[in-house]
């Protein structure tokens, strides 16, 4: 069985600090949600994950973006890169980088849910026959040829993100619930990607798999589980 082999010391340097684990829940309405997945090189498989997580084969990088007209922190957009993995036997997406458009959103996402959010330019634009995501100079992605799917056909993997918590350096499990009203599958094309800007120079999105663009409400609930990033989830999981 494979396990992550990234340096925890290096990952910890980029991890945000959560002053409290008492996050409460928030619902974000009328969000546009883009998710695109790319197979990575096998050489990226273990070195993009901490030792407490297990890679998939082939390794998969997922770009997830939200855009919403309103929220408790005002209008904002967010994009993150994730590596598909397993915590114990459960599917998870390990967040390597996160950019959001406002200081208020960045503070909320990092302090309440442990996402390594920094402020930057994020643009998610829906056109008639395409969707375009751009994040500063570090990422540009186009989704082409929308094809309708059922709301139940797409799934969003639960998030695992590394943060300094009151209990120490932990993988924080964030479990957004998506209530979708419209889903379309699109063909992804990655036009620009700077791995170094997304938390790991070892991210190697090579082979596009698929993407979806959806509209719906997102509820981010209170945190329930943490796990130690240095050991398997079976021995390192704690209840919040």
């Amino acid at each position: 069985m494979l396990s992550g082999a990234a340096s925890l010391d290096e990952l910890a340097q980029a991890a945000p600090t959560m002053p409290s684990l008492d996050t409460g829940a928030v619902t974000l309405v009328q969000a546009e949600v883009l998710q695109a997945s790319f197979e990575m090189a096998y050489a990226s498989r273990e070195i993009t994950l901490p030792p407490g997580l297990h890679p998939t084969t082939p390794p998969l990088m997922v770009v997830l973006a939200w855009s919403m007209a309103d929220s408790p922190w005002g209008s904002f957009a967010m994009a993150q890169t994730r590596v598909s993995c397993r915590s114990g036997v459960r599917p998870r997406g390990f967040v390597t980088g996160c950019v959001t458009t406002t200081e208020a959103a960045a503070t909320a996402l990092s302090e309440r849910w442990g996402l390594p959010a920094r402020v930057g330019r994020v643009s998610l634009v829906r056109r008639f026959d395409a969707v375009e995501l751009s994040v500063g100079d570090s990422l540009a992605l186009t989704g082409l040829d929308p094809d309708p799917l059922g709301a139940g056909d797409v799934q969003y993997t639960v998030t695992a993100t590394l943060a300094h918590t009151p209990k120490g350096l932990r993988l924080v499990q964030v479990e957004p619930d998506y209530e979708l009203r419209r889903v379309e599958r699109v063909r992804p094309r990655l036009d620009r990607f700077d791995a170094g800007a997304w938390g790991s120079p070892d991210l190697t999105p090579r082979h596009p798999v698929t993407a979806t663009i959806a509209v719906g409400d997102i509820t981010v609930p209170a945190l329930r589980f943490l796990s130690r990033p240095d050991v398997m989830a079976f021995e390192g999981t704690e209840t919040v």
């Binding site: 998939t56 114990g88 459960r90 639960v158 479990e175 619930d177 999981t237």
Partner: protein, 371 residues
């Protein structure tokens, strides 16, 4: 009740030629012993690229060796992935017919469509299409085996009139099965008159529901050929030992390791949203939205064939009461149980457990019941 053994060719890291050699030759030894002990089937899966979980990418070759080294046991091609990017249907028909000839008419023919992105993506298969191609395969293969020259104008492949040769020994063709992981596939099997080859562990309750629905539906089936294979098998683990504690320790280590390897596969639905893969097998991870505690090892399914002979008799009796007509056993995972212990487990099972069920319909189905 009939009993089979089921090969995934699960292989531990670090990978090497020696490790693969060990796994394959241990499996062949198990097949020879199963033949001697009176097991009914030896099944061999088809998987590609699935590190640790299954290195069984050429089952037709493995089964040719099994056929040559055994006398009586039926050889289960379980199952051929019915998508043309992996297996052209003409080649499937030809290989299966040769296996039936080599084995002197002992072939059981399983069909499947693959469920991991690792495999489908590796062959550049569109997951939206696999159910359609599987359906086309199972309808055309019996014609290739039973008829003379065959022409086909289909959605996934077409061919001008040709005589696909050789023809299998069993007439009109070997019994046909469908692997069932997702709920609902048993209905696809029943509607086409195909056997239900369970390849994911299920609970008693879920299997009972599936079995009842299968038997109800198959009575009114529109079969893909002139024979109906009305059988329901389920997949299980086997580790039988006189000492229940020893059995539990070794057997649960195998079950846990198999579950971990299985959970670490990249399932199609996780990577590629599609209507064609609505749900996952029972041993598969609970989907990307599985919010349960990562520290909770997935529960061990009930009805597992791990224990002393008395426990196994009770477990199998329960499966039989549900209406299951056969159980196929995984014997090892990543070689976690030493080969000598696997063979001892098989011998104990055959001497203490199998006789309790031998007098209840042990006759071979051969080519199935007339429609």
């Amino acid at each position: 009740m009939r009993f089979g053994i089921f090969f995934e060719m699960s292989t531990p890291r670090p990978f090497s030629s020696e490790t693969d050699h060990l796994v394959y030759h241990n499996s062949l030894e198990q097949a020879r012993l199963a033949d001697e002990l009176g097991f009914d089937w030896v099944w061999c899966v088809e998987h590609h690229f699935l590190e640790e979980y299954s290195h069984s990418s050429a089952p037709e070759v493995t089964l040719a060796a099994v056929a040559a080294q055994t006398e009586r046991i039926r050889v289960g091609h379980g199952a051929v992935v019915c998508v043309p990017e992996m297996n052209h249907p003409i080649r499937v028909a030809e290989r299966a017919a040769v296996l039936d000839i080599i084995s002197n008419g002992r072939l059981e023919f399983g069909t499947a469509r693959s469920s991991t992105w690792t495999e489908l993506g590796g062959f550049n298969v569109d997951p939206d299409d696999t159910k359609k191609t599987w359906d086309e395969f199972v309808r055309v293969l019996p014609r290739m085996w039973a008829d003379g020259p065959v022409a086909h104008d289909g959605r996934c492949f077409s061919m001008p009139e040709r005589n696909v040769l050789p023809k299998p020994i069993q007439k009109p063709h070997p019994p046909m099965w469908v692997t069932v992981t997702s709920p609902g596939t048993e209905l696809d099997a029943a509607d086409r008159g195909l056997g239900c080859l369970g390849v994911a562990s299920t609970t008693y309750q879920e299997q009972e529901r599936r079995t009842q629905e299968y038997h109800r539906r198959i009575r009114n089936c529109d079969p893909v050929s002139s024979v109906v294979n009305d059988q329901v098998t389920t997949l299980n683990f086997l580790y039988c030992h006189e000492d229940a504690d020893v059995a539990a320790a070794g057997g649960m280590r195998m079950v846990g390791l198999f579950g971990l390897n299985n959970a670490h596969l990249l399932w199609t639905r996780e990577a590629y949203p599609t209507r064609a893969y609505q749900s996952l097998g029972n041993l598969a991870p609970g989907g990307g939205a599985d919010r349960s505690s990562p520290g909770d090892p997935r529960g061990i399914p009930e009805g597992i064939g791990v224990g002393d002979p008395d426990r196994l008799i009770r477990v199998i009796q329960r499966w039989e009461d549900i209406g299951v007509t056969g159980i196929n056993f995984l014997l090892n995972a990543s070689e976690t149980i030493p080969q000598a212990d696997v063979l001892a487990s098989m011998r104990l099972f055959a001497s203490e457990v199998m006789p309790k069920f031998m007098d209840k319909g042990a006759a071979s189905t051969a080519a199935g019941a007339p429609c």
